[in-house]
Symmetry: C2
Subunit: 301 residues, 2 copies
């Protein structure tokens, strides 16, 4: 089953202890799609400016990503500049953002995309995320991601959204900020009470926690020795999760556990290169090879 | 096979968001022994003062712990007073320590204990830990724990010790402090290079990482919703680990994984009550019941 993702497409300028890269293809929708395309057809809903390099669009298209709902607007593409410090590679320090065309964007879906039943609202302004609902005819699985910026400045819209989605993805810091709970199990329960049936808490190099009324489980992350650039790891994770769930077409315990294994494995590739350096060339076979190593990593025997 | 533990026996005064308790039996050797006794005979090597309540000694004896190398010296028992804040239940803030009889203590072993081949050097002054070696006739497995205080003030002695032991246990903060590596996989490799064949990094509620030249694995922790008092969790963990390894009498991959599962499970009980409130009454059967739940928590299906 196909999958729609709404989110940002950006030009990223990132500095990490491994170096610095400018004008990289980035953004929540782009990282998500680069991961989800390994599992299913992905339809991207986003906006870029006239300055957006056509090589990036061609590249996304070459990966099989449907760009018919990617709008090219008058103005500048969204740009993000950030840095990760040696002592905390999990936390991005935002140095500059240039919203550009994001400021006037209203997401739209093509008629033939309105029946797609798997939807992911990647990190984006919650008010824009809310706008997508009017196009959805037969949603089966709606996933939502957010970030601290929106938890702080648009919590009301975010809380409204949470009542409308089935799956909520947050990192540990976001889960704590949104619930006021330091203990992640308690935080997951609070998030569940805010609406979504399924809660996924990403803990970076510490792995992932899944919580629903029926089941709770946790996996460690694949052991990456050298994190080059964590930008987009959360989106890549969500892409693997939603991509596999869309492909599987079911949401039982076993399917969910497998989806989270895929998610954490794909994310481990993302952090090993700048931007999409590692995920752009990734095949499902490579992901599954690494997944076998991950499974042995926490096996009992 | 029997097990010797050298460490502290203390009177603890602990404040946590759940309350405050005074004059509790504590210390690294005591918490370790309370856990390891579930698996094998434990011989405690420690010192207390004349003021130490005989009820605590009787209690330890009633749990089958051999106290023949626990010295009762003139002077005061070691006392520790600490607090855990709501926003970081993993980190103890030391408010006061009263070394008392620790200041003049020299550990000794009874003749019949010198042939015991499993030894754990629980958190203690490294110079005192070093003194135990002269008594050991046939060591098979020597484990070592330490803390930030010794990493800062007695790193030379600690590094010397690390060359003499087989297994080193550290929490994530200690592993980072000792190696200067933020990435825990890299930190584990550095620790391995300092001497010990087996490295165990405890990550609190995030679980555990094991590293050796042959194998690396990780388990999540048992999901505890309410941490009452984490004092002694690391010692309880080490007690489960060394206790099971002593009982099993082997160190293959499967045995190590099982030992770490026991360790993390026993530790999860420790944090659910003040001091030894939960571990004192614990049975191996209860531990194994919870271990089944933990195994399902990170199972693939």
């Amino acid at each position: 089953m196909s999958l729609v993702v709404l989110g940002t497409v950006a030009l990223d300028h990132v500095k990490t202890p491994s170096g610095s890269k400018k004008d990289m293809l980035g953004g929540s929708a782009a990282h998500f799609a680069m991961s989800a395309r390994l599992f299913t057809d992905v339809h991207m809903v986003a906006v870029v400016g006239k300055d957006f390099p056509s090589k990036h669009l061609n590249f996304l298209r070459s990966k099989g990503i449907d760009l018919s709902s990617v709008k090219i607007s008058n103005g500048k593409t969204f740009r993000w500049r950030g840095e990760y410090k040696k002592d905390d590679l999990n936390t991005a320090v935002t140095l500059a953002t240039q919203l550009g065309v994001l400021q006037t964007y209203a997401p739209e879906l093509k008629e033939r995309q309105k029946n797609i039943s798997n939807i992911f609202l990647a990190n984006f302004d919650p008010d824009l995320q809310l706008q997508l609902f009017k196009y959805l005819k037969t949603p089966r699985l709606i996933g939502l991601d957010s970030m601290n910026l929106w938890i702080t400045h648009k919590q009301k819209s975010l809380r409204r959204l949470m009542k409308m989605v089935h799956l909520f993805v947050a990192n540990d810091g976001e889960a704590r900020a949104l619930t006021g709970e330091n203990n992640l199990i308690m935080a997951a329960k609070r998030l569940r009470a805010m609406g979504p049936r399924m809660i996924v808490i990403k803990k970076g190099e510490q792995g992932v926690l899944f919580y629903s009324d029926q089941v709770m489980f946790s996996f460690p992350a694949y052991p990456v020795e050298k994190v080059v650039d964590p930008t987009g790891a959360g989106d890549t994770f969500a892409g693997g999760l939603m991509g596999y769930l869309s492909k599987a077409g079911k949401l039982d315990d076993k399917t969910l556990r497998k989806a989270l294994l895929y998610a954490t494995t794909v994310a481990s590739f993302n952090v090993q290169g700048f931007g999409m350096a590692r995920t752009a060339s990734l095949s499902l076979r490579e992901v599954e090879e690494r997944m076998k190593v991950l499974v042995k990593f926490f096996a009992l025997t």
